[in-house]
Point group: none
Chain length 218, copies 2
DNA sequence: GGACGCGTCCCCCGGCCGGGGGAGAGCGGG
DNA sequence: CCCGCTCTCCCCCGGCCGGGGGACGCGTCC
């Protein structure tokens, strides 16, 4: 079995941190919490200093994005595996998390023994995804991984437009896209108008159809 | 919670059958083994007669193929969900199993409580895949699912609804769909409302996204 | 410095869309 | 024979969406 898995917890809710500590307390031989942080900045300092095996990270970190933090951490400390802990059981989130370099995506309803098992697996290089989500994803997966990261340039799409398009393909409304990208709805509409012109379509559903046909999505 | 999940066990090893029976014996209120079979022929007879919620199936059935049996069973008794139980933790097998209409793929190292939980999930329509496998699959994915059928996942769409959906996926507006099918626009809207309910989405773009994800377009 | 592209945000307006009610016809099974 | 399902069509209404105008700051390139 070897040494216990060294874990850093990151969540902006004190309660969650305490809960996780309690949950993991009974498994001292297998998992050891070596630090906890409430903000991205704290987390970055801790992780670079402690170089843990796993970082357990909430997707929403107050105003900050857990995804951005994940990208930062995996870039800076590649041997530390980032596992998201979230309440959102949406496949879309999982894909974004994995694309951001995450080593796992678990739902907050896991219990202690399962969490410990997952942490051990992830420390050994496995990628762990909540089983219910993973089941659905197994069927979806092929399509989404077929394209590369940002091949939107085929139609002269800008970076931002590609991002908007990928969310559009995910079936999100203008409002939802705005929320996801932290933008005004008007800005999203503005990008969409440009998108429709470039894709030579009249509305969002046709845009989705074209994007999928030409593989412009993510 | 409702009635216990009715399960039929299929394996060519007497020992495995006995083991499963013993494992599930302690959960009589949640899972009930209503039959067991050692061959594909036996299994087919049992399943068509008993119409269980779940069929727990070994991938290797002596000389016979569990996959073929799965295809047969899902074709003949669509409401019964087939879950494979295997020792092979190879992604390839999982994809083949899902393509054959399976509702799940678990490894023989599951313990009682987890197996029971999985059986309940699968009976409720979830697709369950062993977490370690599923994690890998999420990243590696594969090319196997491209445009394949998925018997278990038809959302009870009527003929007409499917036609409307396929045009919807093509990016057509209500008016265009009406013209193509020689219908009133109101009729199209009526079909769409039913479609949104069945796909559990709020609008056309989300419907397109779901349809493409789940491959229920024609 | 000026032109240009990009990203952000704002206004107005008309039309399409989604949700809530229906209704009537046909068809098959209990 | 009636029930349930499917398919067809209707009205109203509120909200979302798409298209037309912009504006401003920020970089880059010449």
């Amino acid at each position: 079995m070897g040494a216990p898995v060294r874990v850093v917890l990151v969540d902006d809710h004190e309660m969650i941190l305490a809960g996780l500590q309690a949950m993991l307390a009974g498994f001292a031989g297998r998992v050891r919490v070596v630090g906890q942080a409430g903000t991205g900045e704290e987390a970055t300092r801790l992780v670079t200093a402690l170089r843990p095996d796993v970082v357990l990270l909430d997707v929403r970190l107050g105003p900050e994005s857990g995804l951005d933090l994940c990208r930062l951490l995996t870039g800076r400390v590649p041997e530390a595996r980032v596992v998201f802990l979230s309440v959102y059981d949406d496949e879309q989130y999982v894909f974004e998390a994995l694309r951001a370099g995450a080593g796992g995506y678990l739902l907050k309803r896991v219990d202690g023994p399962e969490l410990v098992r997952r942490l051990e697996e992830v420390a050994q290089g496995e990628t762990v995804v909540d089983p219910t989500l993973a089941g659905r994803m197994a069927v979806t997966a092929a399509r989404l991984t077929r394209g590369e990261f940002w091949p939107g340039a085929n139609r002269g799409l800008t970076q931002r437009e590609s991002e908007v398009l990928s969310l559009l393909v995910g079936g999100l409304s203008n409002k939802a896209i705005a929320a996801r990208l932290v933008l005004s709805e008007e800005t999203v509409k503005s990008h969409l108008r440009a998108l429709y012109r470039k894709l030579e379509v009249a509305d969002r559903s046709a845009a989705i159809a074209v994007a999928l046909r030409e593989g412009l999505f993510r």
